[in-house]
């Protein structure tokens, strides 16, 4: 960047030189390798949503509703991308309160090519703009996951209104609560200053400064809950919103009577595979640096996914008598969901166990529980994402234990791995899960009601019978 602007580069060097003489610690630097990895991860996460998730979902609906799903997912990506740049990034990733950030970076004010964002290492920053875009893709995929729950019966106008409201009032606050913190440079800097401070007033001031830096974080983050890549923020959040949605909107016309078989499991297989590929950007990218931690997250995202696909498929084979492709695909997604919060914390063998467990648990929820309770979660957003996310969030609290091959949790104030406390960590994880369930569950219910009053949630029975593609969009997926 700076080579194109020699004058400003000169000023930066000059300023840095002056600064070095007055400040005790050097400014963190941006590593080009980390930046390159984060640019790559960002587009991989976009690939997850379009076309990955869109095809995964699209293949599961009837052919008359194929385009409605694709349109809803594509629309979600576009509208959230804009909102993220306008105010979403600022609300999620600036300080403010424990529950929501402020507007200091609204319209990306002050975020320039020279701006830096913290990673998980001291003195290793990335360009803030790549962090903005990386997190933007997370904000985009989360509401896109929800549309699977009310697929085949929601009006497009309702989706068009619900999505912007939902990301603004549910996603941005949750992302802030779970992921916002001052960063390693600020904490380590304050800790060093405290160590260097003598006795008396200087020490009290330094301690106050460290406390202030530690307090500059989201509510769930301060409670000690760990979520590497979005088990709570993305999956529980979307899963519970979908569950509430399918309850409020009601079952599809003909549910339980008509044949609602997936129209193309071929598409679903392509979409699922693209999700898996893209998920390496999601999980390994969430490491924010191209180092061993990213490699660990990648390894876990391989093995947990494979384990969950196998466990779902074999469990179904034992119970139903046949191994199904859709079972293997569903298990793979459940495994990816569960390993998301654990990706950088668990060891590979722990991730395999997590995958084996989540495959069976999600199968149980998508078949036994769903049929027993009789709700119509069209594409199992609750059974896979919410339940898989909870298994992952709680499993992360167990698997992070260094004694089980986990990485432990870094304490940036001491620069060492903190002692692992099972009970305390599980309480923290539970707080993270419950906060998300309550905030998203209640908040989404209110938003559905608001949208219902303004434009109406549900397509008419005639529209539904005819299919949303031709009635809502005046197009057909297949003209053959």
């Amino acid at each position: 960047m700076t080579f194109k602007r020699p004058y400003s580069a000169g000023l930066v060097v000059l300023a840095a030189g002056l600064f070095a003489t007055t400040a005790a610690y050097a400014e963190p630097t941006v590593n080009k390798g980390d930046n390159a990895w984060m640019l790559t991860s960002t587009v991989l996460v976009l690939l997850m949503t379009i076309p990955g998730l869109a095809l995964f979902y699209g293949g599961l609906v009837r052919s008359k509703n194929m385009l409605s799903v694709l349109a809803q997912v594509f629309y979600t990506v576009c509208v959230v991308t804009l909102l993220w740049a306008l105010y979403g990034y600022s609300l999620a990733f600036t300080g403010g309160s424990d529950f929501i950030g402020g507007f200091s970076k609204a319209f990306l004010m002050g975020v320039t090519p020279d701006s830096k964002a913290a990673t998980f290492s001291v003195d290793a920053n990335i360009s803030e703009l790549v962090y903005v875009c990386f997190q933007m893709t997370f904000a985009a995929i989360t509401p896109a996951l929800i549309v699977g729950a009310f697929a085949e019966r929601m009006k497009f106008s309702a989706v068009a209104l619900f999505i912007p409201l939902w990301v603004t009032l549910i996603y941005f606050p949750i992302a802030h609560m779970v992921w916002y913190w001052a960063g390693p440079d600020a904490i380590a800097g304050a800790a060093k200053a405290l160590a260097a401070a003598g006795e008396g007033a200087a020490k009290i001031a330094a301690q106050a400064k460290l406390d202030e830096v530690m307090a500059d974080a989201g509510w769930v983050n301060k409670k000690g809950a760990i979520d590497f890549a979005g088990g709570t923020v993305v999956h529980i959040n979307a899963g519970i919103a979908g569950f509430v949605g399918c309850l409020l909107i009601g079952k599809r016309t003909g549910y339980g009577r008509d044949l609602m078989a997936p129209h193309s499991l071929t598409m679903t297989m392509i979409g699922c595979s693209l999700l898996w590929v893209g998920w390496f950007g999601f999980n390994a990218g969430s490491n924010l640096e191209a180092n061993g931690g990213a490699a660990l997250a990648m390894t876990n995202s391989f093995v947990a996914t494979a384990a969950a696909a196998m466990s779902w498929m074999f469990a179904e084979w034992m119970v139903k008598g046949h191994p199904s492709l859709l079972g293997a695909l569903s298990g793979a997604v459940a495994g990816l969901v569960a390993v998301t919060p654990a990706a950088g914390y668990s060891g590979p063998m722990g991730a395999i166990v997590l995958g084996l467990v989540v495959g069976v648990v999600c199968l149980f929820f998508c078949t036994v529980v769903k049929n027993a309770l009789g709700y119509d979660d069209s594409l199992d957003v609750f059974g896979v994402h919410c339940i898989g996310g909870i298994v992952g969030a709680l499993g992360t609290g167990i698997l992070v234990n260094p004694a089980l091959g986990g990485s432990g949790i870094m304490d940036y104030a001491t620069g060492k791995i903190a002692d692992y406390d099972f009970a305390a960590q599980m309480v923290s994880q539970t707080i993270g899960v419950c906060t998300t369930l309550v905030w998203s569950g209640i908040g989404s219910a209110i938003l559905y009601k608001v949208v219902d009053v303004i434009v109406g949630l549900r397509a008419s029975v005639e529209t539904e019978r005819e299919g949303l593609d031709i009635t809502e969009h005046t197009e057909r997926a297949y003209n053959m």
Partner: protein
């Protein structure tokens, strides 16, 4: 003149066509249909949803022939389409009042 309409298993179509050609029946209309008779459907399972699929895919063929060819035609279709399993299909014979070849205007026997 008669129309012989037969519902057969889809994979038997080529054998039936060959058998009809062998006895001098040229010209055949084929339609993909769904239905059920004594052969009940099957169950499809997608995650937790189980569907009893009672309409199975079949092929419907229709041939227009002279009345004296009916027995031969039924014989040819039966021997070619038979597997001995339930679901082999059925043959219906219907009277045909009139036939016209569009290109030439030829009528009835000359049009077949």
């Amino acid at each position: 003149m008669k129309i012989v309409m037969a519902i057969i298993k889809p994979f038997k179509l080529e054998e039936v066509r060959d058998a009809l050609t062998a006895i001098g029946v040229h010209g055949l209309t084929v339609t993909e249909v769904k239905g059920y008779g004594r052969q009940k459907g099957h169950t499809e399972i997608y995650r937790g949803a189980e569907y009893a699929v009672s309409f199975l895919p079949k092929i419907k063929i229709e041939v227009a022939i002279a009345s004296d060819q009916v027995e031969k035609t039924i014989e040819a279709i039966t021997s070619a389409a038979k597997t001995g399993q339930i679901g082999d299909g059925k043959i219906f014979v219907i009277n045909l009042d009139h036939a016209v070849r569009i290109r030439t205007g030829e009528a009835d026997a000359a049009a077949l």
